[in-house]
């Protein structure tokens, strides 16, 4: 198990997870409903093979955002946290792979899971706790960093212009 056979991205090409890059778009959501709507709005921009990395602490609204993306992709199934099972599949206008790396100890375990096939598949891959897979995410990944401002407000920072 090494990364050689997997992603050949050089260090420079790797996704740089940083909320403060110049191209970052910041949005403040004032409720879970609004966070969901932002996800729904993003869904319209996603094409097969799209990867969205969701970053942020417990309670930041990652699953909520995913629920919105899924609504935008007309997923009928209930969106629940995949923390335990690591990955949920949903069927929408595109297949959706909802991955949650919460329980992983680090990037090595991500490789161990063998999920790279999802990343280059026909569906949309949404990854919660993407910090834990950072070195292995392709450069075209859109990262969304979510920060708790207070009880209801969240700040969402996109790694590039999402709309």
């Amino acid at each position: 198990m090494n990364e050689a056979g997997f992603l050949k991205a050089s260090k420079e090409e790797r996704l740089s997870i940083s909320a403060d890059r110049e191209s970052t778009r910041k949005v403040v959501s004032s409720s879970p409903e609004e966070t969901e709507s932002l996800g729904e709005r993003l869904a319209k921009k996603l094409s097969p093979g799209a990867i969205v990395a969701l970053l942020g602490e417990l309670g930041a609204g990652k699953t909520c955002f995913v629920r919105g993306v899924c609504r935008g992709l007309k997923v009928k199934e209930r969106i629940t946290s995949p923390s335990f099972i690591i990955i949920n599949h949903y069927r929408g206008t595109l297949p959706v792979y909802h991955i949650d790396l919460y329980r992983l100890k680090g990037p090595q375990e991500f490789l161990f899971l063998g999920y790279e096939e999802y990343l280059f598949g026909e569906g949309v891959t949404l990854i919660e706790w993407a910090e834990k897979a950072e070195p292995y995410l392709p450069p075209e990944t859109l990262s969304v960093s979510m920060r708790i401002i207070d009880e209801t407000k969240r700040e969402l920072s996109f790694s590039r212009e999402p709309w």
Partner: protein, 334 residues
């Protein structure tokens, strides 16, 4: 029937031999001790670890039961829900064993196996009854109309109950698994210290939701410094636990009333929570309900419950063939 059960749906590698769905002859679950035997911590999530450990675990189950492979009358294996890679290891092994020994094979739904974790030890529990399955991956309420006939009347809309315990334990700097850690520290805490929102659905039905509660704890904790957290840890744990237990209890009791169930079975890892048991005992006594739990070892994932469910399946239905597949999102009942 003498059934070998195999369980690899998630982190535990387990095998057990159960006679007639009632008598556990052996139950081997790969625990930390066994991990040490294999030289270090087994990566929690890797299905290839099941590949490495399943054969010795099955061997140990057979030898502990003091039987030979020839004595077996069936092989039961969890084929969903769970991690697909992990499920496939157990399933492929069970198929190979079934083929080579020429013994009937049966795929078992992990959730049905949990229901059998109670039935296994409590012959007096007969359907119809209400069953609450609460673990790290599941929070489900079923009407068990008869054995093999289950009606789902509630499940989680976001996080599972056990998942909420694990995540909040981490926020509080407590260990993993979070359930026992919170249970312990909560004993010295004030459960009325904070009124966390009780995870109850507004829109009727018996669904659960624990994500908002988790977020409320996260925000509360984020406002404390290390010293304050130290001081309040037990109170936060106790208040959080009270909210989870309250939601589980309210739904279960209300469902029992609506569906006129006099018996309630509670199983899965969270069923060992002491506060849940205490409050359920109090409520059941007032309401005249009988509550059944598995023994503590059978609350968490194990293979004895798989073997017990397999016994029921093989006695009442034709066995599965070697085309049997694994279903990570397998549901139970209608």
């Amino acid at each position: 029937m003498l059934i070998l059960g195999i369980e690899t749906s998630c982190d535990e590698t387990a095998a057990a031999v159960v006679a007639d769905g009632r008598t556990i002859l052996s139950e081997v679950t790969l625990s930390q001790d066994l991990h040490n035997l294999y030289g270090g911590v087994v990566p929690e999530l890797a299905s290839r670890e099941h590949t490495r450990t399943l054969v010795p675990v099955v061997r140990e189950a057979i030898s502990e039961a003091e039987i030979s492979y020839d004595d077996l009358e069936g092989i039961a294996v969890t084929n969903g829900p769970g991690l697909v890679g992990a499920l496939l290891v157990g399933l492929s092994f069970a198929k190979a064993l079934s083929y080579s020994l020429n013994k009937p094979l049966v795929g078992i739904n992990h959730l049905e196996a949990h229901i059998f974790s109670v039935l296994l030890e409590r012959p007096e529990l007969v359907p119809p009854f209400l069953c609450l399955i609460i673990s790290g991956g599941h929070s489900n309420l079923y009407l068990v109309e008869s054995l093999g006939r289950y009606r789902s009347i509630g499940s989680t809309r976001d996080d599972a109950a056990g998942e909420a315990f694990d995540k909040v334990a981490k926020l509080l700097g407590l260990g993993y698994p979070g359930g026992p850690a919170i249970d312990e520290v909560a004993k010295s805490g004030n459960r009325d210290f904070i009124k966390f929102p009780k995870a109850r659905m507004k829109s009727g039905g018996y669904d659960f939701s624990f994500s908002g509660l988790k977020t409320a704890v996260a925000i509360y904790v984020s406002k404390l410094n290390e010293k304050e957290l130290q001081k309040r840890r037990a109170d936060i744990a106790a208040s959080f636990q009270e909210a989870v237990v309250g939601a589980l209890l309210d739904n279960t009791i209300a469902a029992a009333e609506e569906h006129r169930m006099a018996r309630i079975a509670v199983c899965g890892g969270v069923a060992s929570n002491s506060r849940l048991r205490e409050r359920l005992k109090a409520s059941s006594e007032t309401q005249g309900l009988l509550v059944f739990y598995p023994s503590l070892e059978l609350c968490t994932d194990n293979a004895a419950m798989v073997a017990a469910a397999g016994n029921f399946r093989l006695e009442n239905f034709p066995p599965d063939d070697l085309e049997l597949d694994a279903f990570p999102y397998l549901e139970l009942g209608d």
